[in-house]
């Protein structure tokens, strides 16, 4: 089990304040010294707690047994606003040790899902609309962090979120040549893009250029990317061409599920 050190003075932002308050409460309960050793699962729960506080202003304790299910459920049902909060909280938890990535696999996965969820929400948003401008400042705050998220499973996705949340039109500033994610991240990343493309298609909108550029880049890789990435890319192309991919998609989703698991 990996551990990370949480210290109050490393947390300065809004979510950080909440986590800091929780830390103070924990300190009062446990009578701990200045630092508390927390495992990644606890941090994830802490983040969820902070998020719930942010959303409902009513923090409540979550017991350990149901926390995992609740965490994932919460993340999956989050909208773009709460998705941003999730990610911010998770990143705060994961980077508390002066920029070193010390979160455990559970936390990394939670961050990955939150990143993809936020990416999903951002991708569907017209970059020039006020919806994005009206978003909370969390994505901007992510970019202002001094922490280095290199080594994190969702590093490239977070970069993408930063670029997209900066409101660049058409995503022309996305440098795909430096986008070399881990195969698992690439698979999940393209999986999210398939969902985005599908939803845009349902709302009679075109697939954004940056997604198609991502597809082009992925299919151009030498050696070729994993089969699941190729399938995802072909699905995006098929969706943009107006194909009915429902049958093909259900088959590939099953394959993906097995792979990710």
């Amino acid at each position: 089990m990996q551990f990370t050190t949480l210290t109050p003075y490393t947390i300065s932002t809004h979510i950080g304040d909440i986590v800091s308050r929780i830390y103070q409460q924990l300190k009062q309960i446990n009578g701990s010294p200045n630092t508390i050793q927390l495992n990644s699962k606890t941090i994830a729960i802490l983040a969820l707690w902070a998020i719930q506080f942010e959303i409902s202003n009513k923090p409540r304790l979550i017991n350990d047994q149901s926390s995992s299910t609740q965490l994932w459920g919460q993340i999956h049902t989050a909208n773009s606003v709460s998705g941003a909060i999730y990610l911010d909280a998770l990143l705060h938890c994961i980077k508390v040790n002066h920029g070193q990535v010390t979160g455990g696999p559970a936390l990394e996965q939670a961050t990955m899902v939150a990143s993809l969820h936020l990416l999903h929400a951002l991708s569907g948003v017209d970059p020039v609309s006020t919806v994005l401008r009206g978003m909370p400042q969390h994505p901007v705050r992510i970019s202002s962090h001094h922490s280095n998220f290199r080594g994190l499973l969702c590093y490239h996705t977070i970069n993408m979120i930063q670029i997209l949340s900066a409101g660049k039109q058409e995503g022309h500033s996305i440098g795909w040549t430096v986008h070399k994610p881990h195969p698992q991240e690439r698979t999940l990343f393209t999986n999210t893009l398939v969902q985005v493309a599908g939803e845009l298609r349902e709302s009679q909108r075109k697939v954004p250029c940056w997604i198609l550029r991502s597809v082009l880049r992925s299919l151009s890789l030498n050696p070729p990317p994993p089969t699941l990435v190729v399938v995802n890319c072909l699905l995006i192309i098929a969706i943009d061409l107006g194909c009915d991919v429902s049958s093909a998609r259900s088959t590939t989703l099953d394959q993906r599920y097995v792979c990710v698991k």
């Binding site: 250029c209 198609l212 399938v231 890319c233 072909l234 061409l241 194909c243 590939t252």
Partner: protein, 333 residues
């Protein structure tokens, strides 16, 4: 994967059958994104996807169909170490790529492309693509100087260019006519004219003017009679096709307009006039001079440059003298 591939292939076939260039062009980015996969499939022995890609690109009638972001991948296909099937895919797709723009390193890419053309087996499709691309590249004054001279000999093969052919359209600009004239190779120049003159495209104004001039200057004289005959035959065919009317031509090229037909009739009519005029001039001069058995050098030497460079005939300025000894190949009068 096969299921999705099949779906895409079916969709592309439907798009080609629908023959709606505008609709195809609106999806050019997604279709371009498919290109690397189609090449990969071809390498594995399945060429259907690449064929579908090329067919739909052609059906788009869009000279810049392929998205510029494909260029880095396209360049890797032309690499000297890449296998012939990849090079062939790049050559076949090259007419659908915009060869000029900020992302193209023109000189290197043209060099790679030229080298790749000689590294793949010859076929009619390859020849058509090479000539189409060659003319497109040549129409850009920045890129034209980078074309290796040997590439122009592809024109001599005179491939059958499709009704919608950006190379033929852009290839009639003044700069291309000039560049080919500067080669001082009569056969290439003739092949070029026979390729460019077509019932499917009008000619650029500057290029048309230059063509009228070169017919007089380069294809004038007795010795050029057989070339002029070929020109007349070709021009008559074009004018005959244009006389069939817009509806007939639109079956093969829906984007043709009435104005274009009118303009083409004028342009090709004018070219025919120039050729006929040149024939008449020669006939008259021959008749005039027949009694003296003297032919002025201007009738016999279109340009000394061709003869010296190409070693067809060495024909230095000939003194006007009476007698047949200087003209052993004179036609019977």
């Amino acid at each position: 994967m096969n299921k999705v591939s099949t779906l895409i292939s079916q969709k592309l076939s439907t798009m080609i059958e629908a023959a709606n260039p505008h609709k195809i062009s609106s999806r050019r980015k997604a279709i371009t994104a498919l290109f690397p996969h189609a090449v990969q499939q071809q390498q594995n022995g399945h060429h259907e996807m690449l064929d579908a890609f090329l067919d739909v690109a052609r059906a788009s009638q869009n000279p810049r169909f392929m998205w510029r972001w494909v260029i880095p991948f396209f360049t890797t296909l032309l690499d000297k170490d890449s296998p012939p099937p990849q090079k062939q895919a790049a050559i076949l797709a090259s007419p659908h790529l915009l060869w000029w723009g900020s992302t193209v390193s023109g000189k290197q890419m043209i060099r790679q492309w030229a080298a790749a053309t000689s590294a793949i087996p010859y076929s009619d499709k390859v020849c058509t693509s090479v000539v189409d691309t060659l003319l497109r590249i040549a129409s850009n004054s920045t890129l034209e100087p980078h074309i290796p001279t040997r590439m122009w000999s592809w024109l001599n093969r005179q491939p059958s260019l499709p009704p919608v052919c950006a190379g033929r359209y852009f290839g009639s600009v003044w700069g291309v006519v000039e560049a080919i004239r500067a080669l001082a190779h009569l056969e290439i120049l003739k092949s070029y004219l026979l390729l460019i003159w077509s019932e499917w495209d009008h000619l650029y104004h500057g290029g048309h003017g230059e063509m009228c001039t070169l017919i007089k200057e380069d294809f004038g004289g007795v010795w050029m009679e057989h070339h002029r005959k070929d020109f007349l035959k070709h021009l008559d065919h074009i004018l005959g096709q244009l006389d069939l009317g817009l509806d007939h031509l639109q079956q093969h090229k829906p984007s043709l307009e009435k104005g274009s037909i009118k303009r083409m009739k004028e342009q090709y009519g004018k070219l025919k006039e120039v050729v006929v005029e040149e024939d008449k001039k020669v006939a008259m001069a021959l008749a005039r001079e027949s009694s003296k058995l003297i032919f002025p050098p201007s009738l016999l030497t279109p340009t000394s440059t061709y003869r010296e460079t190409l070693d067809i005939h060495v024909c230095h300025p000939i003194p006007i003298v009476a007698g047949l000894e200087y003209f052993p190949l004179l036609p019977t009068l």
